[in-house]
Assembly symmetry: C2
Homo-oligomer: 537 residues x 2
């Protein structure tokens, strides 16, 4: 198999020319109907489960039968995707477009949490991670002794903000009583003004995250915050910490109280378990809570290496997403956590997924002739049921759902009202949604008719703890990676954000010239748009 498919290290077998692809195309003509009589049985639900560290995955509400699962399994095997996962975790340079100038790097967010065993998969980067952890542990002890800082602002954008923010929210009941985090990502001056209103700067740390030190938003917001500290007669150098690449302009102890390192092999959207997430979370929840989160992520990393797709949760989840996306032609996925502390988790997954897999070329630079990354969106249940679920039940489009459910609440304060606790009501609603979307309901009144046959998956865990949250994070990271491996794309660069940056620079130049009373004729469109803006009253 290997010798057939590989040629000078280049995979010749692609998604659409696998045997499994043709089989799946055929099977997709008559997918399993969830709304037929007796489709959803206890037996089906019991059989269609995969267990992984801290999470079970129920896929009995997907439009699949054994033949589809078998074909999806073959797809994974033909493309040898579990080997690609292993290659990633071992540090092969998989972040590249072959034959063209590209990043050409390893992808090692997993090494950032492979710090518990004697024989990590990628020793070089796990060793580097351990050095950062030693610094962090010492820093946390120092802060505890000082008893000065109650608040920290994380200044970063994209993955440097969304992941840590989602995890901080997700650990609400694990926070230290007198520690709070705040986030500034947007260049919007109101963003910084809002945070400043809530804070006593003398008790506030500022964590600046930027690999290069040159991100427009982060550099601007840092400059503004330094000004604010100076105006309050506080020395920024005692409050500011950097998380950056070694030797970047922000790796400078004369300007920062501490400098932590971020490595090239860890992309922003995968940086939550690097120092980017570790430092703020250790500040807010304590170093031990952070370690538990990393343990949970690491457990899922090891699980994700399992070759059998039927026993590999992120791989099976990825395959089912392929089924919905490329065979049933469904262009979006809604992620619905039945947990209020996970309210911002869909926003993190949205970036992690869409920035990774929103690509139109394969790893050889060839244009795809199939759909890749879907639109990912979602809000917490049960609230979402009273929002957009009308469309999910009765709209003209089918939206596959991923539900996240928990046996117990996180805060430990549950309430029995009329025979069931709130947590039981919450989970009852989750289950009821999955079932009603699948089976539908007939009615004489067309307005009360539900077609059903609308697919969903359910992730279940006992409780949202640092450990299970870490596993959940890694589970989604690996689902995204596996989808990328199957599509044959590079999920680890983000060239698509460059053009906007270049043009924004031109618009800022135009704005500057207009202000100076000398509109630069090289930017006619920008000048027009600013003129239109100026006229607004």
């Amino acid at each position: 198999m290997v010798s057939q498919n590989k040629n000078k290290g280049i995979d010749m077998l692609t998604f659409t020319n696998t045997k499994a692809y043709s089989e799946l195309k055929e099977l997709a003509k008559k997918p399993f109907n969830l709304n037929q009589d007796g489709a959803i049985t206890p037996k089906r639900l019991e059989q269609m489960v995969v267990s992984a560290p801290n999470w079970n995955f129920l896929y009995g509400f997907q439009r699949v039968d054994e033949a589809v699962i078998l074909a999806l399994t073959k797809l994974a095997q033909e493309l040898e995707v579990h080997d690609k996962m292993a290659a990633m975790q071992k540090g092969e340079k998989i972040n590249q477009i072959i034959g063209f100038e590209s990043e050409n790097r390893a992808v090692l967010h997993t090494a950032m949490r492979d710090i518990f065993s004697e024989a990590p998969l990628s020793k070089e980067y796990s060793d580097l991670a351990r050095i950062e952890h030693a610094k962090l542990k010492e820093f946390c002890l120092k802060l505890d002794k000082e008893e000065r800082f109650t608040d920290a602002i994380l200044v970063g954008i994209g993955g440097s903000e969304l992941g840590p923010h989602a995890l901080y929210d997700g650990l609400y009941f694990f926070r230290k009583p007198n520690r709070r985090l705040h986030f500034i990502s947007n260049i919007d001056p109101d963003a910084i003004a809002m945070v400043k209103r809530e804070l006593d700067l003398s008790k506030t740390l500022v964590i600046i995250v930027s690999k290069s030190g040159s991100t427009l938003e982060t550099a601007t917001n840092e400059a503004i915050l330094r000004k604010m500290f100076n105006e309050a007669w506080l020395n920024p150098n005692e409050h500011f910490i950097s998380i950056t690449s070694p030797k970047s302009m922000m790796d400078d102890k004369s300007k920062y109280r501490e400098c932590f390192y971020l490595f090239d092999c860890v992309g922003g959207r995968y940086s939550s378990t690097s120092m980017v997430g570790a430092l703020p979370l250790a500040f807010a929840c304590g170093y031990e809570v952070l370690l538990d989160l990393l343990k949970g992520a690491h457990e899922m990393d090891l699980h994700a290496l399992e070759p059998d797709p039927k026993k590999n949760l992120p791989l099976l989840s990825a395959l089912l997403r392929m089924w919905n996306r490329n065979f049933l032609q469904l262009p979006t996925i809604a992620i619905i956590p039945y947990a209020q502390v996970l309210a911002r988790f869909p926003a993190h997954l949205q970036q992690c997924d869409m920035e990774s897999n929103g690509k139109s070329i394969d790893k050889m630079g060839k244009r795809l002739d199939y759909s890749s990354g879907a639109v990912i969106w979602g809000e917490p249940g049960t609230s979402a049921q009273h929002s957009f679920f009308q469309l999910i039940h009765q709209g003209t489009d089918i939206i596959p759902l991923e539900f996240i459910g928990l046996k117990n609440c996180q805060g430990g304060l549950d309430f029995d009202i009329q025979g069931t606790t709130s947590q039981e009501k919450l989970v009852s609603n989750l289950f009821a949604q999955a079932l009603s979307l699948a089976t539908g309901r007939s009615s004489e009144n067309p307005n009360k008719r539900f077609e059903g046959n609308r697919p969903s998956s359910i992730f279940l865990s006992e409780k949202l703890t640092p450990r299970s949250l870490g596993s959940l994070l890694a589970l989604y990271e690996h689902t995204v990676a596996y989808q990328g491996f199957i599509w044959g794309i590079n999920s680890f660069d983000q060239e698509g954000v460059q053009l906007g940056k270049v043009l924004a620079d031109q618009f800022m130049k135009a704005a500057h010239s207009i202000k100076a009373g000398k509109p630069d004729p090289s930017y006619p469109v920008a000048n027009t748009l600013f003129e239109m803006l100026k006229r607004l009253k």
Copy 2:
């Protein structure tokens, strides 16, 4: 025209059998290419603008030319949609499915803010709104005198939470210094535990919103909160306020300090300008700020009656959405406010739109043979640029965008760094995104290639004030309504949420029986799912 199209009050002309529909189908075979040389000119941008109260709408970045705009205009005229808007605002019973049991009600959220003129369009309900406002004004004065309450919790779900929450966030810099709002919608016990942690109940008002008084989440959360007040030796009746239908079980002065009214003709997702939004916003920002918001909404209501689509902002916006959805076949819309205070605004619009237009039958109960409501999603820019914009620029699917931009920030604290202010940088980014998505960029390196031709609209205002925020809210409400009128659906009911409620009830019964040690055999699927949950460790 009227006599031709109407038969016993039933419109015979439908979306797909208009003349304009066929024309548009033809035009959609060769839509205007934004990425051709010279496509985006200052002239085009200057011409493709509609002005409305407080907002300008730029549509030069849509894939339309004059022929398309003309055909869209005809579509609106053939279907006489501006008459439908007038009928709505006058109080005709448009919330119905003809020939089947249905809600059969007027739709009069506009009457809730039609309180400024001597001759409101629907006198009956505007008069009722005025009575509520008189109560509210007096209540606000009383609270100011008492100086007791610093915090209020709004307990409601769906529209009762999303709209007021989005507006409260949107008015961040207009809040009174010592007044804060909190929101509990989810049945999740952690939701209530999180809010409780932050509050001193003795200084807290609780506003319970439920039309019927029987919404599961709201009734449960109210019961829990009453318990908490009792345990803190506080009398709930001094703290709790209800917003409900006249004569509902919550219309009871022996249980609530005050009872405000919500009317049948105002749906949850359109209730932000009724007492549902008015009471919490008046508490947090003061009654005058609330009035400005309502004024802005009312101004847009009047504007929305304009018959000429080229001069009617919400109608033109609706028509352009139809073009993207039904002719260019694009299934989602991303709403990107370049304003951090509008961070939750897309979530409100998501519900308002998807619950209104996520329907599969027309007003006669006939199944649609075309797509209706799209998936609406979004996050604020510039942050979003560093999140999912990779997919928007280079993904395989096209996502139409609606940008919201402002000349000035709300907080009034802007910062000049390297020649431009943060607000200028913010707007520069918005414009740069619209332009780069339209024009794209060629490159030898396929990974640095941008196809362009990706459409967007831009809403621009001078500043986000209570007044312009009110206009923005109404603008979107009317865009949604116009789309519904064109599709010929009933945008004002939500039968699609009923089945889930029925099944949730069964699951709760099952949970109760299992707990009692006697699983009820009538719920085999529920029993299995709870068994699986129970086994989790």
